[in-house]
Amino acid sequence: MYKSFLKSALVLGLGLGVPSMVFAEQEAHKLVATDTVFILNSLLFLVGGFLVFWMAAGFAMLEAGLVRSKNVTMQLTKNVALFSLACVFYYLIGYNLMYPGDTWSIDGTLSGVFATTVLEPVGVSAEAVADYSYASVGSDFFFQLMFCAATASIVSGTLAERIKLWPFLIFTVVLTAVIYPIQASWKWGGGFLDGMGFLDFAGSTVVHSVGGWAALAGAIILGPRIGKYSKEGRVVPIPGSNLTLATLGTFILWMGWFGFNGGSQLAMGSVGDVADISRIFSNTNAAAAGGAIATLILTQVMYKKPDLTMILNGALAGLVSITAEPLTPSLGAATLIGAVGGVIVVFAVPMLDRMKIDDVVGAIPVHLLSGIWGTIAVVFTNEDASLAVQIQSIIIVGAFVVITSSVMWFLLKATLGIRVEEEDEINGLDMAELGMEAYPEFSRR
């Protein structure tokens, strides 16, 4: 199931394309009127969309808690700015790049529609909506926009505490206007990955790995924070300023994920759909719990004391792991899939440090590595999935995002520069770039 019925009808102005699948289901049951299906589907997108919107708050709090107090205002500024920019650029170009319908300029690879998003007119009648048998354009746009913004949020955490504000925001514009929508069209826009049989229910690859790859490219090109790795090659921990906020952020993300995965059922007009959404909510929750417990136990065993920051990462890794297939696993399987995500975090965080890749909030293990794991794990519970196709798709998307983001990062580095001055980094980005602190009444001990 992909997300483009609606768009094909709208963009081409065809009006009343009726997807045969939905129609057949209606015939079989004759229980839910078409009006009701339209209303329930649109409602699912709207409720799902505002839950995913709230994930922006989750990312902001998580990142504010895991950076030092001298960089908190900057991290919050980046989060609100990147979300807002994603909203504008997804409207201006992204949505139609992602859902070309039948209008491709390169078949299955590049949309042929370069235009802004147009909603249905005010007070539209059943006869005049773009797709009466499905859902309103506005609900679909609102829902999809939030996924695009989530992708951009992933990048800001990794590159925190040393990247300049404006070059980072320019990257966000390119990511949300072009990079994310183009690769998303390959799967959710009905492009060539979809044609190959690639399965990614809510975006372990399409959303999370994409953010993770862009963050990885950025982290390597930007370099680590001053003092993170000593001259002798030792890793120097830089504790976050507020684990209370980081925990709140994690719970907000956990909640938002019900909309992220549940909404990606994309339909709520039948008993089957509603039962499936219920499975998805339960599995999504189970995977987060599995990830958190795995990290709780592993950090206790390996380090003698549980590490809260890793447990938070573990819960999120569990959520990312289940995102590619939250429907078919049993509750037990979902818990295990999430637990493996937690294990990935515990081993990947020190591994990245050994490679001197400084990922401030752990977004690379959580979103990239667990995203890859989740995409592969689809084959364990969904017999329609092919391991070869899943791996091929991971590599294709990865290569595209790494190449395009690296080009952007290098361009920005060569022109504006992406890194703040040494003195500014040591004094903190809050005073250096913004002239205000998040906690002006706190003194540093």
Binding site: V235, V236, K305, D307, T309, M310, V349
Partner: protein, 112 residues
């Protein structure tokens, strides 16, 4: 008069305050400090990376007492703050030349 400076484990502060009040001590100064002695720090792990905690949190007490009471005060602190484990702290005893109460101008033992 003597100035007694004692560094103790923070969790023992309340016990020590109570014990000193019980023997008639009427005032003291308390500061949260960090330092190292023979305990000389320890290591912790954050996100898989080990780091040294070189300075251990302690509480510093400063109190001025009549010379005749100094020994009893030192003994009370020693008994109350003692756990027997490394890091229990140290006590220093210094001579004090003069004490003046700001409000009344009293000096010497009357000002304590």
């Amino acid at each position: 008069m003597k100035l007694i400076i004692a560094t103790i484990k923070p969790f023992k502060l309340e016990d020590v305050r109570q014990a000193l009040t019980d023997i008639g001590i009427k005032g003291m100064m308390v500061t949260e400090i960090k330092g190292f002695g023979s305990q000389s720090g320890h290591t912790e792990i954050y996100r898989g990376a080990e780091y040294a905690v070189n300075f251990v949190p302690k509480v510093k007490l400063e109190l001025v007492v009549d010379s005749a009471m100094a020994e009893q005060v030192v003994e009370t602190i020693t008994q109350t703050a003692k756990t027997g484990k490394i890091g229990d702290g140290k006590i220093f005893v210094l001579d004090v030349e003069q004490t003046i109460r700001v409000r009344t101008g009293e000096t010497g033992a009357d000002a304590i």
